[in-house]
């Protein structure tokens, strides 16, 4: 197991360097630069343009800028935002808990509903339940997030008035952030009703962000279960008179879960992309919305560090999934 972990960790380093290059190049390949965008319709004289490019250090050769950025990262300095003038890492740490909180809720929603749905659909294969479920999953998978979010707001907040429209908690409540997780901070604050307010604000964004992973998890669980249910050992278990519930829960599910866990791990990466749209619609102060703003402003330091930090998180999650995978299936860690 230690060797397995070591191998996995060793692979991270080249991936990390690769990502620094991609993140660095990505924002510079985009046409336009921050100075021109700041100047806007007024324009900027060539002298002032040179001055500003020099001040930001963008007049230096591209490889010098890259190594400067890389050296900074290894010293824990991710640069300073051109627009807010704050250290990028500070903004990231402030905003990231909001994204994690939302993503955790969404993935929990997707797994808690998706796995049972997939199992039932597999067991009742071909019935109306299975067909309806898989049909719905396909619709859920194809639904544009932006559209779904607005639709939910209009229906549940606008017409029915059941949920708040957007934000993380009612503006009535005010307390300093301790952990950055609104559900935890609202409990710590001791203010009456704060926790339920935070929960009620989570409902619609969770559904919006969780719908695509839910569809994927349900479909993956169903097909994995179908495969396993056809295996000899399941037939044997049934033949020896084991109750169906136990056959499915104990023998089939455990083996079917392996590809499902991989899928869930991959969905976390996909979710970071979904978070960008979900956060924008629901005024959710997370890193997704922050990155969109930064790309619009060509805020090079934020984009390159933000991409890198998000990639690091996705890599860590993948590593954890790999380890879990190894724990569940011993054959993998011995390969």
């Amino acid at each position: 197991m230690v060797r397995f972990l070591f191998h996995r960790l060793l692979l991270i380093l080249p991936t990390f360097i690769g990502i620094t290059i991609v993140a660095f190049a990505f924002v510079r390949v985009l046409p336009g630069d921050p100075v021109l965008l700041i100047a806007g319709e007024r324009g900027v004289t060539p002298e002032r343009y040179q001055d500003l490019m020099q001040q930001f250090g963008y007049d230096r050769p591209i490889w010098v800028q890259y190594f400067d950025y890389l050296a900074g990262i290894f010293q824990g300095d991710f640069g300073t935002s051109i627009s807010t003038k704050r250290p990028v890492i500070q903004d990231f740490l402030t905003l990231f808990p909001a994204t994690i909180e939302l993503s955790l809720c969404a993935i929990t929603f997707a797994v808690a509903l998706g796995v049972p749905m997939g199992i039932i659909a597999a067991v009742k294969r071909g019935t109306w339940f299975d067909q309806t479920l898989m049909g719905t999953a396909l619709v859920g998978y194809s639904m544009p997030i932006f559209w779904l979010g607005l639709l939910l707001i209009i229906l549940f907040s606008g017409i029915l008035g059941w949920t708040p429209v957007s934000g993380r908690i009612s503006l009535m409540y005010y307390f300093p952030a301790v952990t950055g997780f609104m559900t935890i901070d609202s409990l710590l604050s001791g203010q009456e009703g704060a926790f339920t307010s935070a929960l009620s604000h989570l409902i619609l964004p969770t559904i919006t962000l969780g719908t695509i992973p839910l569809a994927v998890v349900a479909r993956q669980t169903r097909s994995a279960m179908l495969e396993v249910l056809g295996e000899d050992y399941v037939r044997t278990a049934r033949a020896k008179g084991m109750p169906t519930r136990r056959v499915i829960g104990l023998h089939a599910l455990r083996n079917a879960l392996i590809p499902v866990i991989t899928t869930i791990g991959l969905q976390i990466g996909v979710m970071m992309a979904g978070a960008i749209l979900t956060e924008t619609i629901f005024s959710w102060p997370g890193v997704g919305k922050w990155m969109i703003d930064a790309i619009g402003r060509r805020d090079y330091p934020v984009v390159q560090a933000g991409l890198l930090l998000i990639a690091l998180v996705v890599m860590t999650v993948n590593l954890i999934v790999d380890v879990l995978y190894g724990l569940i299936n011993p054959r993998i860690r011995h390969q």
Binding site: I38, G161, P164, E192, G193, P285
Partner: protein, 531 residues
């Protein structure tokens, strides 16, 4: 707990809290996050709303709802005969905000004025680059660095600015956001503690509201300044609830999560206007959308050709299709809400027949040209692509073949300034300080050729008028000169002036006293909430 139960409880808790809170709180669903709280390094209206307009004052201010200047932190001022010396007499007894991070020991005085400007002006000032990558974009783009010769403290309550040349718009510049007055005493405290960045994060001003807290990208909280030198605001608390998506802002307003919002979607306007709980205010924006010919390129160097093309454009159809009613036809290069607007000017009639004839008379046949369409939506032009297509069709009517060109925004801004640029450019302008000079000199002056003057148009008579207007301090005299300049502009037609946008501001009926700012800012010191 069941889902329904928890929802019920949440609602009950909200109702309880709302009942318990006696304080009047105004929630404004703002459109974006401020970049910082020191307004001077920034140029965006979103940042100014959250900083300069709520927290700070300036020496000069604008009378609410107008572009006219009035005394602010300066009670009065005198201008020397030659127009180069401005002496400001400061208001006494004005206090800076007392917060948990700063308690002032003295009132506002000349040192604060010196600090606020010198930091932007003098490169060796300790606060000139107090944060990584800080630049003073507005100060520079208004050429204040070249304009100011010296700033002098005559006594504690008198400050004298000496300029390198007469510049009448200087007074309006002193009302702009970058000219906000910060506390020198607070800066000294920060310098001592080595925490310079706090100036941009925990602001101290003299304005109607004092800063309480900013939860990044989520909300900003302010409390009314109980010692405000003007009328203390009627509301106790002001909250900016940052809500980027306009459709979501409208939903929040309807659900009562906020009481007032800016920039509604044109598509949502009908829904908002038909809601009996909502009042939608509207006003013409301080902007203009135009099509700038390259007057140094054949055949657009002939005024007759430009005039003929202007007559071929069906502006009414553009207002209908592109602005969906939220715009008005522009006949002048400055908007009607601005002083100096010449309302006697008649717009070129839409007359394709006459236009075709004029082109023939000018010897222009088989003309092919390009029209540049901006890739972004702006208040003065929400959909440039659509506008370009309509112009393409209009020009085809008079036998002119148009190719539509577009590119990424920053490239567009840069390449459209080139002297040898091919074709006509769709662009626009939103005013900075409500002074006609800010449109006519910035966009059409000879100095701006090759930069913001995208028509590359330099006309001696026009230039003489706007230069003369800079040297006169009497507003009526200046207005007369600008009116004359607009006549020349109309004859020469370097642009096709297309539209001024109409700005909408939806709010709940309970919001009272809100005044729309023609300059596009959002201030709440005069707002009250009906019980």
């Amino acid at each position: 707990m069941t889902f329904k139960k928890s929802l019920l409880m949440a609602t009950a808790a909200l109702a309880l809290t709302a009942g318990a809170a006696q304080a009047k709180t105004l929630v404004y669903c703002s459109e974006g996050s401020p970049e910082g709280f020191d307004p001077a390094p920034y140029t965006s209206g979103t940042t100014f709303d959250a900083s300069s307009r709520a927290i700070y004052n300036r020496l000069v201010q604008f009378t609410p709802g107008t572009t006219q200047t009035e005394p602010g932190l300066a009670e009065s001022w005198e201008v020397s005969e030659d127009g180069t010396e401005y002496t400001f007499h400061l208001r006494e007894g004005v206090q800076f905000h007392s917060t948990d991070y700063f308690t002032p020991t003295r009132d506002f005085n000349a040192d604060d004025v010196l600090f606020s400007f010198e930091r932007q002006w003098q490169e060796d000032h300790p606060w000139h680059s107090y944060s990584t990558g800080i630049t003073w974009e507005y100060f520079n783009s208004m050429s204040m660095g070249d304009l100011i010769e010296s700033i002098e403290k005559v006594d504690d309550y008198t400050v004298k600015f000496t300029l390198t040349r007469p510049e009448a718009p200087f007074i309006a510049n002193m009302g702009m956001d970058f000219a906000s007055i910060l506390s020198a005493e607070y800066a000294a405290q920060l310098e001592e503690s080595g925490n310079l960045d706090a100036l941009n994060q925990q602001p101290i001003g003299t304005g109607p509201f004092q800063f309480v807290a900013y939860q990044q990208d989520a909300n900003i909280r302010y409390a009314a300044n109980q010692d405000y030198w003007e009328d203390v605001p009627a509301i106790d608390d002001l909250i900016f609830a940052i809500t980027v998506d306009p459709a979501v802002r409208a939903q929040r307003l309807q659900a009562g999560e906020c009481q007032i919002m800016p920039y509604p979607n044109p598509a949502d306007l009908e829904m908002l206007q038909s809601d009996e709980n909502i009042n939608v205010m509207e006003q013409e924006g301080l902007n203009v959308g135009y099509l700038a010919y390259n007057t140094q390129q054949e055949p657009f160097d002939q005024p007759e050709v430009r005039k003929a093309l202007n007559m071929a454009i069906d502006k009414e159809a553009i207002i209908e299709a592109v602005f969906q009613g939220s715009g008005s036809i522009a006949k002048n290069p400055i908007p009607p809400s601005m002083w100096g607007y010449n309302d006697d000017i008649e717009d070129d009639p839409y007359d394709p027949e006459a236009a075709r004839q004029m082109l023939e008379d000018a010897g222009v046949t088989d003309l092919s040209m390009s029209v540049w369409a901006m890739p972004v939506s702006r208040p003065y032009n929400p959909d440039a692509r659509r506008m370009a297509e309509l112009i393409q069709a209009d020009f085809a009517e008079v036998g002119v073949d148009v190719e539509i060109v577009s590119m990424e925004w920053a490239e567009y801004l840069a390449q459209s300034t080139a002297l040898d640029r091919d074709g006509a450019v769709l662009l626009g302008w939103t005013g900075d300080n409500g002074d006609p000079d800010n449109f006519l000199a910035v966009l059409l002056g000879c100095d701006a050729v090759g930069n913001a003057n995208r028509a590359q148009w330099c006309n001696e008579d026009f230039e003489a008028l706007i230069q003369e207007a800079k040297t006169i301090n009497d507003q009526d005299e200046r207005a007369a000169l600008y009116e004359e300049a607009q006549v020349i502009f109309k004859e020469e037609a370097p642009w096709a002036t297309i539209a001024h946008s109409v700005v909408f501001m939806p709010m709940l009926n309970s919001v009272e006293g809100y005044v729309m700012d023609p300059k596009g800012g959002h201030s709440f010191e005069d707002v009250d909430i009906a019980e």
